[in-house]
Amino acid sequence: MSADEPVKPAKTDGTDWIDKIWDFLTSLKLIVILLLILSALSIAGTVIEQNKPLQEYYRFYQPGTVALFSKLGLFDMYHSWWFVACLSLLALNITACAMDRYRGIMAGMRKRNLILDEPLSKSLQNLETIRYALPLDAVEKKMVELAGKGFSGKPVVTAAEDGGSHYFFEKGKYSRLSFFLTHLSILIIFLGALVGSFFGYKGYVNIFEGETVSQLGTRAGKIQYLNFQVKCNTFHAEFYPSGAPMDYRSDLSIIQNGKEVIRKTIRVNDPLTFEGVTFYQSSYGGLPDQITIDVVNRDGALKGTVTAPFGRKVDIPGVADKVEAADYQEHFHMPDGSEGGRAIGVNIYPAKGGPTGLWLLVDHPEYDKQRGGDYYLRVKDLKLKKYTGLQVNRDPGEILVWLGSILLIAGIMIAFFISHKKLWISLRTDKKGRSELTIGGTANKNRDAFSREMAQMIQSLKEVS
């Protein structure tokens, strides 16, 4: 992209098929086309909703279309072979371009022209000669001071044949490496994603308050064992008066070899990481733990009270029947369609005959009266066991993704805002005994700004007296 660089060495024979493939892989057209194709494919992926259950698609598309799209991988296109192939081609393209440009970039960093000779001065756009009545060494001192301001550092000095000297200043040489920084960082990000998908897992686990787990189910449908145990001490959900969620938090302990090694309260946006495994607050819920039921006669007299642990049959006092709390719903639908609140599904096992199932509503205690037996059941108390739902991740590639992202940002910044500037100055005594200074410079990017900088420097050099 810069004028002062040699073009890459000409190929000896362009007909060789390896050369042809290479030319294709390093062609600039391929970059632009690939970037646009990837955009177009990604657009398709946002228009066709991804990874929905198949029956959802039948609501929107003809069965034939569903079959075709499903075969083409359009419902999970970011993981389809052709999308991955495009990404691989991109990676290949970047690698090839980086190899292709390696020599040119290294050559650009080398100091080649240390002196401002005839051919070089012809190629420079900001060239100026200034003459002074001052002695050479006075001019030199001022000049090094002035030029040093813009080009921090000392110049390379070369003695000229006619007794004068040549000075070469440069700045931002390493900005030429920005090409590698931007492009290789994209490869690092890809690598991080690959490492994550091969060596990491994403899973999910529910832990009841007070309970401990040491394994979880992964999204790939496997059981993952942990080297430690996770205990949920407590879970809390808080809500705003409007009912919108305010805070979800779980007090977790990590237990290893029987000892608690970490205790932390996690929230959304504040997960816990231990040995590379991260626990994220993701959901929550509750199941009934035990239920206390009043047994009431038709006439309203209390027959007795029974406490039933969830899922266990217990005797109903004063009756020959047994009761078992077997089901729980947070939002019960009444037969008339209205919301019934919390409901417990119980089975009644009479001494003779099969069991009957019925619902007891926690918030409408007299609901069971309408059933019309010789007694009815009334919920007196319900103890819920809360659980916290945690997303669990292990992603050894993540660090590469962040490293790549930081390098990418750094590379882009350097690529756009730092250029490699070179400045040549020569000093000699001319035929009339005056000090003669010739100055010229070049930059590989943002030449307008550099021209302005040069003009300023030339102006201040002219003012030296």
Partner: protein, 282 residues
């Protein structure tokens, strides 16, 4: 509340600025131009006060959060960044004539924002994050730079056509506009400013998603569209740097890029669904 009143005044001032910029282009009077820039600046000042006030009022309501979290707030912030970044670039690149194509955005966006509910709601857990601010600010400053490039590119297309077909006299309307090559260069430079910012915005967004949901990239429509925008501008930059695309083709890519930006910002929320849909029926 005070903040709504101030936002209302800012909308009105932006309207005024838009009219002045268009008149400046039509009548070519330096006075009008200065008045246009000043009133846009006035709009920014009033809106800055409005945003500050809203922030302060959220603390008074004991909610206490940056005003960047629902559709109304993000629209008003978007209008504010466009006006501010445009003023900075107008000064830097001396492109006041572009104002007629950029100044309508703050007004139209504010007018659209006023159709949305503007009460200060407390934050749901997922939005309680410091990454939110860095993510939103970098994305929007990037978008604003793209908006300026869009205005410049439209002007470029008019100007290039005029240069091709008509005799240019310095006093004419077309002579009044910057030269097409200057517009071309500025269109590129503004993208060179927006692109790194968008990159930072995407990375901070990924980082935040990773902290909140445990995945840095889940191909949800908003993420995918921000990637699309990024790819389009990356294609623009490569076409320009490596293939020497300039002029009309570059200008068209810049316009396409901004259309994708607007879709990424609004279209995704209004038309597609995903993690990011604020406001709406979520």
């Amino acid at each position: 509340m005070t903040n709504s009143l101030l936002f209302g005044i800012a909308t009105f001032v932006y309207f005024f600025a838009m009219v002045l910029y268009v008149s400046y282009l039509a009548f070519r009077s330096e006075m009008l131009g200065k008045a246009a820039s000043l009133s846009l600046l006035g709009g920014v000042v009033v809106e800055t006060a409005a945003i500050g006030m809203r922030w302060y009022e959220s603390y008074q309501m004991e909610i206490g959060r940056a005003p960047l979290t629902n559709l109304y707030e993000s629209l008003t912030f978007f209008a504010w960044t466009i006006a501010l970044i445009y003023l900075v670039l107008e000064r830097k690149f001396k492109i006041r004539t572009v104002g007629a194509f950029v100044a309508p955005f703050p007004f139209l966006i504010m007018a659209y924002a006023s159709l949305n509910p503007n009460d200060i709601q407390p934050l749901v857990p997922a939005l309680k994050s410091n990454w939110l601010i860095s993510h939103v600010v970098t994305c929007f400053v990037g978008y604003a730079a793209f908006a300026v490039s869009f205005g410049v590119s439209i002007l470029y297309i008019f100007k290039a056509r005029a240069e091709q077909f008509s005799v240019k006299s310095a006093g004419s309307f077309w002579g009044f506009l910057p030269s097409s090559s200057a517009l071309d260069e500025i269109g590129y430079k503004t993208i060179a400013i927006g692109f790194p910012l968008l990159t930072i915005g995407i990375v901070t967004g990924a980082f935040w998603a990773n902290v909140a949901w445990g995945t840095y990239w889940s191909w949800d429509p908003k993420e995918t569209w921000s990637l699309i925008v990024w790819l389009i501008y990356a294609a623009y930059l490569h076409a320009r740097i490596t293939r020497g695309w300039r002029g009309k083709r570059a200008a068209i890519l810049s316009i396409v890029g901004f259309a994708a930006t607007i879709f990424c910002y609004l279209g995704v929320n209004l038309i597609l669904s995903g993690l990011h849909s604020y406001g709406g029926a979520s």
